[in-house]
Assembly symmetry: C2
Homo-oligomer: 257 residues x 2
DNA sequence: CGCGGTATTGAATCAAGTCAAACTTCGTGG
DNA sequence: CCACGAAGTTTGACTTGATTCAATACCGCG
């Protein structure tokens, strides 16, 4: 397909896009999804693949040939509903594992598109599977990955069913905050990589509702928001909203405690 | 339908509930989730466990020790939202695999309760894991299982986000119909095992809405419904609704066939 | 028989969606 | 570098689908 597009336009600094086995511990990308990955004894060939903003890693229906671990950037996995328009399922970021359908020998189930310039580690499925057969720890990691993925989906289900719009958005912001924090970035100030429409699709809301909710949070002094620049001002209050306490009513008029 | 094996209650003294390795092909329970399970060469100890209506297979937070495959019956997996009330995540039935958290060494993530008298196959996790290490096919099945589970969750996500209430219920009914059909039961006439409240929780609706929607479908002549007894009369029209075409307008007015 | 859990139905309310318009930002190419 | 058009965002007015509250009916069961 479009292998050429973003494939190996590798940084001039590192001539080695290919490697085998053990990555340095500092390469934290796989630490999260596959902690024991670095400990794999046998050679495990891998490739890096760069994606420009807007480029697709793969699309639904394509034969799946590899697993991917996000090294940096932010992507969007989505699926076209039968009524045509897309529904956003997740925003994979550093450390997230993608393309697990490959393990089941099934075609790609979703579209995955880069929201900003990103890079993923490519793990050919056959290599991975054979590594799995040799390495219980890797299997374990994989199970854990599936477990946490399912858990996240479940939580997402909770969000969509029976949760007010404000609650959903508050959760979304806090989740993003946590993820950025885990990367060592600021949990209070960050840039959204996705549009209002994409957030809305993810949360089961319209883009207008998302916009309105942002404005509301801003008016209430809980966040600062300018386009995609976000700053969380009252995390405690946000947590309260996320927990369902719609508003402790006139939260902190002056109390920044 | 419920084979005699079902009649073995579970007195601790009964040696008959234990077995090893290859189950008969007729024991279709694992065919669905784990096709190659029956082909496992080495001994794979298993136990059957019966659950009375209302009994819990496990509860969220409990240490997980085994995988389960439903042999017959209908269960409910749910999770208490932080606001207290429970959210139904799934209605596992024959062939469905439960408790995959065990593989990741994590505690049970959900509550699982029997909606009617049910039986599950118990597969101790250590045995299962060792069988996995020896049997690529079993691993493959497992991957496939995770793949389809994720796919189902995704579909469920689609339902909850951006889908009208009528659409959700229509989908729910058709999905049930398909599952029953796969079991060899009638896809047109069946009994709901769950209450309106549970359906509502599953679909992200209130029980009143569910009730109303049932009545509406009945009035429109698409289904016959009496409490939990369901008969699908106009499957095509239901599919149309499920697909988003709200109503092909005055469907078959007169055809109560 | 009457009781408790379950289901249906109605009326009023409200949250979120829809439609529409104005405005800002961003990227592209002149 | 600026201008332009496309895309993204905000905001308003209005509509509506679904919830909420509440009353009633029903089934199954002891």
């Amino acid at each position: 397909m479009n292998m050429q597009t973003a494939l190996r336009s590798v940084p001039p600094t590192s001539p080695m896009v290919r490697g085998a086995a053990r990555l340095e511990a500092s390469d934290s990308c796989q630490q999260i999804a596959l902690p024991s990955f670095a400990a794999v004894e046998s050679a495990m060939p891998w490739t890096a693949r760069r994606l420009r903003r807007g480029a697709y890693l793969y699309r639904a229906g394509m034969p799946s040939t590899a697993l991917y671990v996000v090294r940096f950037g932010c992507l969007k996995s989505s699926l076209a509903a039968d009524d045509g328009d897309e529904r956003v399922l997740d925003f994979p970021m550093r450390g997230d594992l993608l393309g697990a359908d490959a393990l089941a020998g099934q075609p790609c189930a979703t579209d995955v598109q880069a929201l900003e310039d990103s890079e993923v580690l490519v793990l050919p499925v056959s290599d991975f599977e054979s590594a799995c057969s040799r390495t219980p720890g890797l299997r374990q990691d994989l199970y854990r990955h599936f477990g946490t993925t399912l858990r996240k989906e479940r939580e997402h289900l909770m969000r969509l069913g029976g949760m007010r719009a404000g609650q959903r958005l508050a959760r979304f912001l806090l989740e993003l905050s946590d993820r950025f924090a885990a990367f060592g970035y600021s949990p209070r100030v960050f840039n959204l990589r996705m549009s209002r429409a994409e957030i809305g699709s993810y949360l089961g809301l319209t883009l207008e509702s998302v916009s309105r909710l942002f404005s509301r949070l801003k008016d209430d002094g809980l966040i600062r928001v300018d386009l995609r620049k976000i700053e969380l001002l009252e995390v405690a209050a946000l947590r309260a909203i996320a927990a369902g306490h719609e508003l402790p009513h006139e939260v902190a008029s002056g109390a920044v405690a």
